[in-house]
């Protein structure tokens, strides 16, 4: 199929109708970006493949923006030797009309849906609502549009394979075959998933599930049946066991009866045996008594002898203990005497000597201390006296202290200051009379008259000048008056102070002050000295200490009054040494005394123990004696019945003989008794035990049997058997159905797989011619860098051969541009093959932008060749320079402005 022309109106940017006419060979759609080149191709696909009454949102996107206009397109094509014209309007008053050129005019042949269908079939497109490339039939391969993927995800659509297979004569595909294969696919889909697994809810799947459910039910029922059978087998075992036991039980009862009869027969023998037993018993009793007495007497005699011997031993021991005890006592006394009468007095002497010496030593120390204290006290007293004198002087004499002196000085300074100020501020009045000796008096008297006879007037002052009159001067002002006042006041104060201290002037005052200072200094010095002396003890304390020492001295004197006279004359070092010697002696003596005392204690302790032993021995002796007497008395008592011991022995012999006779008789009776009565009785006891045990076991078994039977009855009441029968019958039915259905499915799977295998073979066959074309072009395009493209059975290029390295590279390793170019060449190759009978349209929508100039030139050569010999090609681009060398039909695509 090729396109002659297309007219579009109300289509995106094309408001007015625009017609584009195409050559049957190479056409270049030239326009800027956004000019509307791709829109033209979109119109191709919409007209050929989209239903006229489609309401998909993509259709509304082809309306011019902001309008509700109905997009229209008219396309004229050639296919199978016929010319067709299709007119379609979308969205509003949607229309589809198909015309065929016949008898020099267009004749409408289809409209509406049928027009849509026929158009699709021309390029073998699907009747699918979406416009994906795989639904566009042959144009999936031949039209490489802007939004298309370079290659399909898995394989090209059937239309392409079918289309391509047309030139392979031995694999001719027909619509009939396609139809049958589609039917097969449909049947396949009814049973299987795309991966060949049984589909969920398909007939085999449903049947299989039903069978599983029934089998599960049967299995569960069989478990119940197995339980019943198990119980039945247990029952059988129990029955066998019970039967055996019942037989044994019966036998046991018979045996008991027989034994009881035998025992009844032996009753007389039993009486006889009883009688003999009695006699034997009595005789034995008698013998026992005689023997007992005899033994008792003999035993006692032994005891008496033994007691006697023990007695003698004990007595000896007691004597020994007593003697030892006395020795120990004596030893203790000796020791006591030694430490008390010898050692202790010696110790006292030594201690006394030590006491004397210590007392003398202490006395000497005390006297020394006393002297020291005395001296100190004197000193303190002297200081105190001196201090008192000074104090009294300070009190008595009126002496100014530092404060007085400072105050005075301050006042003096103030006064001087005031005076100075007054002098400065004051008015000096001088009189100069012609007549001399004029008397001048002032009121108040001025403070100051200088050498020139000038009067210092500090305040209002009236001068009486002889008889002439008065001159009043009001000078100075308040401040002068104030100064004057202050000065007077101060002066008075100073005078008061002088008066106080009975001085006339500052010098005298100062001298008094100095005297005070000296006295105070002295006082301070005395206080310091006193403090130094009394740092440890004050006067009272020293006085007290003194008294104490005196007391102690007195005591010590008493203590050493009796000391040897030479002790008093000893030097302190000698005293110390002597004391040491005496201390040594004392220690030794104390140690000796202690040893002696300890020994004495041990001796006394030992003697106490010996005394205890003695007493204990005496007690035992007494007991033994008592025992001895008692034993003898008892023996005498027993022998009273027999006379002598020999008599008793004789009696004993007689009884022994009698006993032998009786035992002999009894032995024979017993033997008979054992056989006729005793053994049957034992057997009867055993038999009764066995019978009881059997009875119990039987009862248990009966209970178990009843239990098992009841359990089985319960299961039987659940109708397990018929339920299982019904389920098994149903299973049979389902299995038969499954076998049939599954067989059907297997056959369909076989057919499907076989068809796939053959299709694959076809695809593989198809790839040969494509590869041949593609490889030649690739070598040209890449200048032999790559000379072969490997295509798989799905006609997808997977790798390229690089002769330079004699290796293959996966397609992914090629650059993006080279991959694009390989894809374009592939589509061109398909286009060439599909154009065997008539030209096919190949569209390349601006997909060569990544080709460098050299490659572009070579590609153009290939395009030119293909367009000249095989296909109609339409290339959309915004740059026509690379295509200059091609014989082409250049179709400008006006932009929006151009269109307006």
């Amino acid at each position: 199929m090729i396109i002659e022309e297309i007219t579009i109106k109300n289509w995106k940017g094309y408001r007015e109708a625009h017609t584009f006419q195409f050559d049957e060979k190479f056409n270049l759609l030239l326009g800027r970006n956004e000019a509307g080149k791709s829109t033209i191709f979109e119109a191709f696909t919409r007209v050929l493949f989209t239903r006229h009454n489609s309401t998909a949102k993509e259709i509304f996107q082809i309306q011019p923006i902001g309008t509700s206009l109905a997009p229209e397109a008219t396309i004229i094509i050639q296919s199978d030797g016929q010319r067709y014209k299709s007119y379609k309007r979308f969205i509003k008053a949607s229309t589809s009309e198909l015309y065929r050129w016949k008898n020099d005019q267009w004749q409408r042949i289809h409209e509406g849906d049928s027009a849509d269908n026929v158009l699709r079939d021309i390029l073998k497109g699907d009747h699918k609502p979406t416009l994906k490339p795989e639904h566009r039939g042959l144009s999936q391969a031949l039209w490489y549009l802007q939004n298309d993927d370079p290659l399909p995800e898995s394989e090209w659509g059937d239309a392409i394979r079918i289309g391509l297979s047309g030139f392979i004569s031995h694999i001719a595909q027909s619509p009939e075959e396609e139809l049958i294969l589609k039917k097969l696919d449909k049947e396949f889909v009814d049973y299987f998933t795309p991966t060949g697994r049984i589909k969920k809810d398909s007939p085999p799947d449903k049947l299989e599930n039903e069978i599983k459910i029934i089998e599960a039910v049967i299995s569960s029922l069989r478990e119940g049946a197995a339980r019943v059978e198990n119980q039945r087998q247990n029952l059988e075992v129990l029955f066998e066991e019970t039967r055996g036991k019942e037989i044994e039980y019966k036998k046991g009862l018979v045996e008991i009866q027989t034994l009881e009869d035998t025992i009844a027969e032996g009753q007389e023998l039993e009486l006889k045996k009883k009688e003999k037993d009695q006699i034997l018993f009595h005789t034995l009793e008698e013998e026992k008594k005689l023997k007992s007495d005899y033994d008792t007497i003999n035993r006692r005699r032994k005891d008496i002898d033994s007691a006697q011997s023990e007695l003698e031993t004990l007595q000896g021991e007691a004597e020994r203990h007593k003697s030892d005890e006395r020795i120990e006592i004596r030893s203790a006394e000796t020791l006591k005497q030694n430490w008390k009468e010898t050692l202790t007095p010696n110790l006292q002497i030594v201690e006394e000597s030590i006491g004397f010496l210590r007392a003398i030593e202490d006395l000497k120390h005390l006297e020394k201390d006393k002297s020291q204290i005395e001296t100190k006290i004197e000193e303190i007293k002297s200081i105190i006296e001196e201090s008192r004198i000074i104090k009294s002087k300070l009190l008595e004499e009126s002496l100014p202290d530092t404060k007085d002196w400072q105050t005075l000085q301050k006042q003096r300074e103030e006064l001087n200051t005031i005076k100075a100020q007054a002098e400065i501020s004051g008015i000096w009045v001088g009189f100069d009379f012609k007549e001399g000796n004029t008397k001048i008096s002032a009121k108040p008297d001025p403070d100051n008259v200088n050498e020139d006879g000038e009067y210092l007037v500090l305040g209002p002052t009236s001068f009486t000048i002889g008889d002439y009159g008065t001159v009043t001067i009001r000078g100075g002002g308040p401040s002068l008056e104030e100064l004057q006042t202050n000065g007077d006041s101060l002066d008075k104060k100073i005078q008061k102070v002088f008066k106080k201290f009975n001085v006339e002037n500052y010098e005298e005052f100062y001298l008094l002050h100095q005297r005070r200072m000296d006295l105070e200094k002295e006082q301070t010095r005395l206080q310091k000295e006193l403090k130094k002396i009394t740092i440890d003890e004050d006067l009272d304390s020293l006085t007290q200490s003194f008294d104490t020492i005196e007391g102690n001295i007195s005591i010590k004197k008493n203590e050493c009054a009796l000391a040897p006279p030479d002790y008093h004359t000893l030097a302190p070092e000698a005293i110390g040494k002597k004391i040491k010697d005496f201390e040594k002696q004392k220690k030794a003596l104390i140690k000796d005394i202690k040893n002696e005392q300890q020994k004495e204690e041990e001796a006394r302790k030992k003697s106490s123990e010996l005394l205890e032993l003695y007493q204990s021995a005496i007690t035992q002796v007494t007991k033994l004696k008592s025992k001895h007497n008692t034993l003898q008395q008892e023996n005498s008592q027993i022998l009273k019945s027999y006379g002598t011991l020999e008599h008793l022995e004789k009696l004993l012999d007689q009884v022994a003989v009698s006993l032998k006779t009786i035992e002999a008789d009894l032995s024979s009776i017993n033997e008979e008794y054992r056989v006729r009565v005793e053994e049957p009785k034992n057997q009867l006891e055993q038999a009764e035990k066995i019978i009881d045990a059997l009875d119990k076991q039987l009862q248990d078994n009966y209970k178990k049997i009843t239990g098992i039977k009841a359990s089985m009855e319960t299961i039987f009441a659940q109708n397990l058997y018929s339920e299982m029968a019904d389920q098994e019958a149903m299973l049979e039915v389902k299995k038969k159905q499954f076998e049939r259905v599954n067989g059907q499915a297997k056959a369909i799977l076989l057919l499907k797989n076989m068809a796939e295998s053959f299709k694959e073979e076809q695809s593989t066959a198809l790839s040969g011619p494509i590869s041949e074309l593609l490889n030649g072009w690739l070598a040209i395009l890449t200048d032999d860098s790559y000379d072969e493209v490997r295509i798989n059975e799905k006609l997808i290029p997977i790798e390229v051969q690089t002769p330079r390295y004699n290796d293959v590279l996966p397609m992914e390793c090629l650059s993006f541009g080279t991959r694009e170019q390989v894809v374009v060449l592939l589509r061109l190759a398909m286009g060439v093959l599909l154009s065997k009978d008539e030209r096919s349209l190949v569209v390349i929508d601006d997909r060569l932008v990544n080709a460098d100039p050299v490659r572009m030139r070579r590609l153009c050569q290939i395009l030119d060749e293909v367009a000249t010999k095989h296909c109609q090609i339409i290339v959309a681009t915004c740059n026509d320079t690379p295509y200059i060398g091609i014989n082409m039909n250049k179709i400008p695509v006006p932009g929006v402005i151009g269109r307006e």
């Binding site: 694999i171 001719a172 595909q173 027909s174 009939e176 075959e177 049958i180 294969l181 039917k183 097969l184 049947e187 049946a225 019943v228 059978e229 119980q231 039945r232 029952l235 059988e236 129990l238 029955f239 049997i705 098992i708 039977k709 089985m712 009855e713 039987f716 009441a717 659940q718 109708n719 397990l720 058997y721 018929s722 299982m724 029968a725 019904d726 098994e728 019958a729 149903m730 049979e732 039915v733 038969k736 159905q737 049939r740 067989g743 059907q744 297997k746 056959a747 369909i748 076989l750 057919l751 797989n753 076989m754 068809a755 295998s757 053959f758 299709k759 694959e760 073979e761 076809q762």
Partner: protein, 375 residues
Amino acid sequence: MVKFLHTADWQMGMKALHTGEKAKDVRFKRFETAKRIVEEAKAANVDFVLLAGDTFEDNTVDEVVVKRTVDILNQFDPIPVYIIPGNHDPFVPGSIWDRDIWKQIGSHVSLLTEAVEYCHSDDVVIYPCPLTQKKSGLDPTLWIPKRTEEDPRIRIGLAHGSLDIISEDANFPIPLDRPEQSDLDYLALGDWHSYYAVQNAVYSGTMEPTGFGEKNSGNVLIVEIKTANSVPKIDVRRINALTWIDISPDIQDSADLAVFESELKKLDPLSSKLLKITPILEECSDIVAFQQLETIRSDLLEKSFFLDWDDPIIQPMVGDAHLPEGILSRMDEVLADILEGKIPAGPGKEFAICDNTTVSRARQILHRLAGGRLS
């Protein structure tokens, strides 16, 4: 003289698995037939009834089955009924005979569980051979003593086992000449489901057939013995409610079909018929015949008690479809080669291992899809 009814192999509670959804109904019919035996016995005024084993299908049948059977047996009253346990219901602990419900059986029914002589009357004695296990290679009739010289009584054996004329490893084998060996006037047997008599050893067969292919079943026997050592007179009475019929008609054309239809008509009433039909259609190419056959099948499905006719009649016929040149025709060749045992070349080779049934079906489907005629 003595007159008695001989029956056996009631198989109460049998599963009848091969009757699918009708299994329950098949089981139920046996109770109806058993009731008719009661009527038959009373109508014939027999002295007693002999039930020669396998009264029940299994010792574990449901309680309700036992109860119903007990109720039916009680209806024989006052006619005595002598039953022996068979190999399906042997006398073992936990068997049906142990159940509480069995204890409700009337006193006229005697379960003979010991191999000892049983006197029915002064002149009739029965030698029961009860079975106490499911399988054995021992002869259960071995114990029957010979007649003593002065014994004028009619001696009847009652046993369950297999007359040793079929195989050496028969279950409970009974010698063919047991009646002769033990001086029995009649040996009432159970185990085989068809009526069979050889001299005085007689199988009554089951009173209701149990499957397709059983011949001569569905009977009870009314037996008369005049005196000791006389030949018994056996009257075979048909009693079954259901008939099991197995047909494989060879249909090549409409004429054959007409014959088949007339055969079916003879089977009326179909409501008591269990049919297993396997038509042979390989040679048939008559479309009309196929369609009629389909109609007959639908009709039978509706009218018969049970129909086992699963395979579809209309089957794709191979050879008549036009397969276009290309993949499909090649596939057809491959399938044909495989069916002939050849290993095809090319892509078809991998499918040579498929089983012939699948390959054959695949070929039929292919032809059907190709628009071939459906047979």
